[in-house]
Symmetry: C2
Subunit: 366 residues, 2 copies
């Protein structure tokens, strides 16, 4: 049983825990659309199997799948991954999924944001998005948790929280005309605070994919502990991200969190650009209204990693930079296993437009 | 997590509890197909809401719904009824659903029968039935219970168990060429015993709907307690059921159960025939391969009732016979509330081909 609440998490004493707090499980969605995932999504499905299998070494994983793909997903996934019918328009559980919130006595609820496929009719990536929009409510029913309906469009990849009152986000995304043009920056801050149980919003500037997520913060940063942030770093001044990461660093260095703490920032050198071959594009269905992928180079990132119980799951690039990234992560997460997913999987998920953080959503322990 | 088991419930010490044993919840499926349910299934949906609401007074109810109908079902059902995405080809959870089995230490598993829409290509009621076929596996994943796959076609409405070693069924259905023509009567008995944890199968003769379920026992009888059966009764010798119920009574009187007990049979006088108006047929979509409903009279029954926690839910006919039926039920179930669903609801579900027992499936307490 799940009821729809008319109060707010803040009023009711609920907050969204940090990703590093203990999880009950990880939610994912199964990729299948042939205009987003090449070759009828078969390589992407194997990639999602690798990610789910890796996470399932550390915590339970539930995969949401359409009826059409139920048998196939069940056959490809290992038995410890639960498979439930939960249809979606694509496979980005971070973005269309709920934000779980908890209170001090262990009760759990969730927040259902508006979702418009990263920009709606302004600059969204596909149409329609009616299945994605229902994902949080369906999860609420499956888990039997009550649901807050937040009066704003927001994706889970657009913000990071520490569970102690602070949220990080980017101006590029949250102030985009494709999200909540009717809300002022102050109104957006107030709504975030009300629905995630926060006291302070720290604004970075831009992300690295204006045409995809309009600059999600989970492509450039990861919250790794109280007042402690991992920031993707670029040393090549010809890379368009060179200025972006410096601006974001300057903002973090100038800021304090809800408890007045200065931020410790760990720079992680990003991998070489990922190459998209023309042949990979040829294997996509052409569908009007879906954004087409173009051949050439894609900026790759290590910061789209996922923190789960006892581990961090990060995307290998198959480059020398992997070893450096692993060193940084082992230093930043001394008590967690640093579990890599293969460069082939990383590449496949990147072709669809994201990474391991984008395709996962943690459910905290109640 | 749910794994597929290769042993049998009998070997593992599992049995299917009787319907009168305590339930964890009731499962139902939402009607929507316009070739089975008139007026785009809108009256049927209201009927299912009445049944679900009635049962939810006594135990939790989960309604499986396709994505297309999710918002509508959620809006029409009361909040205490859970709604989960679980698509099906129609709405008969008794027949396409699983049989839950338990052991003495409270573990729960389920049995997944073959399902072929009441007769497959021989005399089935629609094609395809691929969604129905996956319902038990999806329920296993939702509940995190392991699953036995039984090597025979069977619907839940084709048998009744006492949870103490005895099963009642009909020869008409289980020996039908549309079910398991490759199995002998002895092989069918053996498989039932293996997969439901039984010792004895008691065969009645025929049911009352050869063209629909091929004579399901839940249209003529209900197991109400150990060695105690409610049997639909007809006093009019011109009614085709007159001989059927006498033959079934004779068989029950001649039989003993797995514990050697003679059966106590309670006769319940069936209501007048239900009338199908031509206008009700006109509101059905015409779909090739689906059995068409015909105007005229349908035999109605009180025995397609549902036993849930602290109650029995029975279908009123809107006739004087209702008071007699209620008296019988109050006598047979002295410790349960006798909860009627309205004649309008009964009629609507009958138009689709069944009753409250057909559209429900109990999950026992573990």
């Amino acid at each position: 049983m799940s009821t729809t609440l008319t109060s707010t998490p803040e009023v009711d004493g609920f907050r969204m825990p940090a990703e590093w707090e203990p999880h009950r499980q990880t939610w994912m969605l199964w990729p299948q659309r042939p205009d987003v995932w090449r070759q009828g999504a078969k390589p992407a499905q194997r990639a999602f199997v690798e990610v789910a299998t890796t996470i399932s070494r550390f915590e339970p994983v539930t995969m949401g799948v359409s009826h059409d793909q139920f048998r196939n997903a069940r056959a490809l996934l290992p038995p410890q991954v639960s498979v439930v019918e939960l249809s979606s328009d694509d496979a980005w559980m971070r973005d269309c999924g709920p934000a779980f919130v908890v209170n001090d006595t262990g009760d759990m609820r969730l927040v259902d944001w508006g979702f418009n496929a990263w920009g709606g009719l302004y600059d969204g990536l596909y149409f329609p998005w009616d299945k994605d929009e229902l994902v949080p409510q369906k999860v609420a029913e499956l888990e039997g948790v009550d649901r807050y309906v937040a009066p704003m469009v927001l994706e889970g990849g657009a913000f990071l929280v520490d569970g102690q009152g602070t949220l990080l986000t980017t101006e590029e995304c949250l102030l985009s005309p494709g999200r909540n043009p009717h809300l002022s920056k102050q109104e957006i801050e107030a709504t975030l605070c009300e629905y995630l149980g926060l006291e302070k919003v720290v604004w970075l500037g831009r992300g690295i994919d204006p045409e995809e997520t309009t600059g999600h913060i989970d492509g450039v940063a990861h919250y790794v502990g109280p007042a402690e942030v991992l920031l993707g770093w670029i040393d090549d001044p010809d890379d368009f991200r060179y200025e972006i990461c410096r601006d974001n660093l300057a903002r973090l260095e100038a800021a304090t969190d809800a408890h007045g703490r200065a931020f410790t920032v760990h720079r992680i050198p990003e991998p070489p650009w990922d190459e998209v071959a023309a042949g990979e594009i040829a294997d996509l269905d052409v569908v009007e209204g879906s954004r087409a992928l173009e051949p050439g180079s894609m900026p790759a990132t290590y910061t789209n990693l996922y923190t789960c119980n006892r581990a961090v799951v990060f995307e290998e690039a198959g480059a020398a930079s992997d070893a450096v990234a692993r060193e940084v992560l082992e230093r930043v997460f001394p008590d967690r296993t640093v579990a890599g997913v293969s460069a082939g999987t990383t590449h496949e998920i990147a072709l669809g437009g994201g990474g391991v953080h984008c395709i996962t959503q943690q459910q905290p322990r109640g």
